[in-house]
Point group: C2
Chain length 331, copies 2
């Protein structure tokens, strides 16, 4: 932010400031009602006002208004475990009777028994093995149906709600606000692309082609003269950390002008978005609200936030306090 402010002319700053209170004062409904007034809400309104003010020094044409959002911990809850991980374990348990050989593998045994400590002991290799066994061997269409069915019935234990209701109301407002101002919002998630596509349109209004994520290898083939695509058990791209700018460049083909994340896995995405020329916005959701949601950052195994927190001030990234900046967490 400082970086941008020092580079911007005083005239531009005055224009941006003039735009924002105008939008709020003249009887226009507040586009971000679940955000408390303060520097973060102001930064959001200021940024959107500046890049959409035609003739202004920071104006960005609609086609270049690309914003990227991490999913887990940025748009919905990621504690105590990633939702997709809960899904994987449920699938492993559901499929176990048909796969007796799994009992001979300690990671599968641990997953079936619900022994999280033992699953964790299997490390990333163990997790990827479970992920493949639980989710591959089907077409993308079949998998999305399976995931959608699970999401329709599974419930988070703490709130006894479907996971798709544990999305953050303030972020839904950001998505709607950006959309109304001509932005295209994309998800760039470490989660599986097809898992997210199973709910992103209903939950966020983000269509499948605006979801970028990790992928299983997809094998083309034919059955009875028809094209059949099979999701293989090998993860062939992990859309996390340095992978996020790669996937964004590949898929979107434009550098985002705004990025929203919550963990160090979003560091390079935030860099990529905010290092471009012109006005930029980088935002980090900081989970500091144990009462209404969770409080975690540097020491967390899920959604660890440390380097991004350290570097946020000098990079001009806005750190959103869930506790202070959001008047409401869930819809």
């Amino acid at each position: 932010m400082l970086h941008h402010l020092t580079r911007r002319s005083m005239g531009a700053a005055a224009l941006a400031l003039a735009t924002v209170p105008a939008a709020l004062a003249q009887g226009t409904p507040d586009p971000l009602p679940s955000w408390r007034d303060g520097p973060r809400k102001r930064a959001l309104l200021d940024f959107v006002g500046a890049v959409t003010t035609e003739g202004g020094p920071d104006f960005v044409r609609a086609a270049d208004r690309v914003a990227t959002f991490d999913n887990d911990g940025t748009l919905w809850v990621e504690q105590p475990a990633y939702t997709q991980f809960v899904f994987i374990l449920d699938r492993i348990r559901a499929l176990a009777p048909r796969n007796p050989a799994w009992q001979e593998d300690p990671v599968f045994r641990a997953a079936i028994a619900g022994d999280m400590r033992a699953v964790a002991a299997g490390g990333t290799a163990g997790l990827l093995k479970l992920a493949g066994a639980a989710q591959a061997g089907n077409t993308p269409e079949e998998f999305q149906r399976t995931a959608a069915q699970w999401l329709a019935t599974a419930r988070d234990r703490r709130w006894n709600r479907p996971y798709t209701q544990l999305v953050y109301q303030p972020m839904l407002e950001v998505l709607a606000f950006l959309r109304a101002r001509g932005f295209a919002a994309f998800i760039a998630s470490g989660g599986g692309v097809e898992f997210i596509r199973a709910f992103s349109e209903d939950a966020y209004g983000i269509p499948p082609n605006q979801v970028v994520g990790s992928t299983f290898a997809l094998r083309p083939g034919e059955q009875e003269g028809r094209v059949v695509l099979t999701r293989e058990p090998q993860v062939d791209f992990i859309d996390d950390g340095p992978g996020k700018p790669v996937a964004i460049a590949r898929h979107i083909g434009r550098r985002p002008i705004a990025a929203f994340g919550n963990s160090d896995g979003d560091f390079q995405m935030l860099q990529y978005a905010t290092e471009g020329p012109g006005r930029r916005l980088g935002m980090i959701v900081h989970h500091d609200d144990a009462e209404r949601e969770y409080a975690y950052d540097r020491e967390s195994h899920v959604g660890q936030l440390s380097r991004a927190l350290d570097e946020a001030p000098r990079r001009g990234w806005q750190v959103v306090s869930m506790r202070d900046d959001w008047s409401r967490v869930f819809p």
Copy 2:
């Protein structure tokens, strides 16, 4: 088509037929003025009318109106050589003085000398080597600028026009027509994704994130604390033949309900689109107009069309005669 007609109720057929002449008769401007009346124009109007008629048996909600288009030979001219190939050779000649070692490689020597026969003798391996040397080692943004600069000045010899003016007017009308009816149009091309993104928005109104294509490996890195993505000289995905459905499923996440191609490289894309449930449209541009454009199919090295031509009737794919169905070829 037959397949669909037999499956559709008579009521649905009547509705579709009633829709189309209505659109043309009641003073509405013809959305496809460069298409001559006949079965192909009728199939297009009929299809779009059917899937957009709310309450009709073939209605498809806007979010699912996905259409995919091949690029070379479907949206613009691909003879006597793919435009990107001409670009690659121009780049090799431009970069040759800085790369004296290239003179020791017969494929590079042939390319620098403009000896197409000798380049062809190098086969696919030789072409990929040239493609990498000509196009990699830069960021996606740098490469797109280079490609855009070349496209702004290079001219096709036969027409002495920029390549971006050698797009097919009837296909531009299809794109505009589909867009007006709530479709999202994507390019799915064997060409390089970033080459196409350099002109797709201006030429076709198709934004970068709706372009799917072949890709070079993209390597993430940092320079002076900033994210830098480098296009490596290795092609890591070829979006052709069986690769097209894979790339479409990955990128779009929805099976298209319409697909437009012109060669056997589009076979699986046409299959994938038309094998889905409900009303579908598969269309093949047949280059049979040596006078206004080119005439080629089974024997051509560029854009070979043989299996798709054979199977089009039984698969219900419309084969468009450039000579008979198009009253005009270029804008």
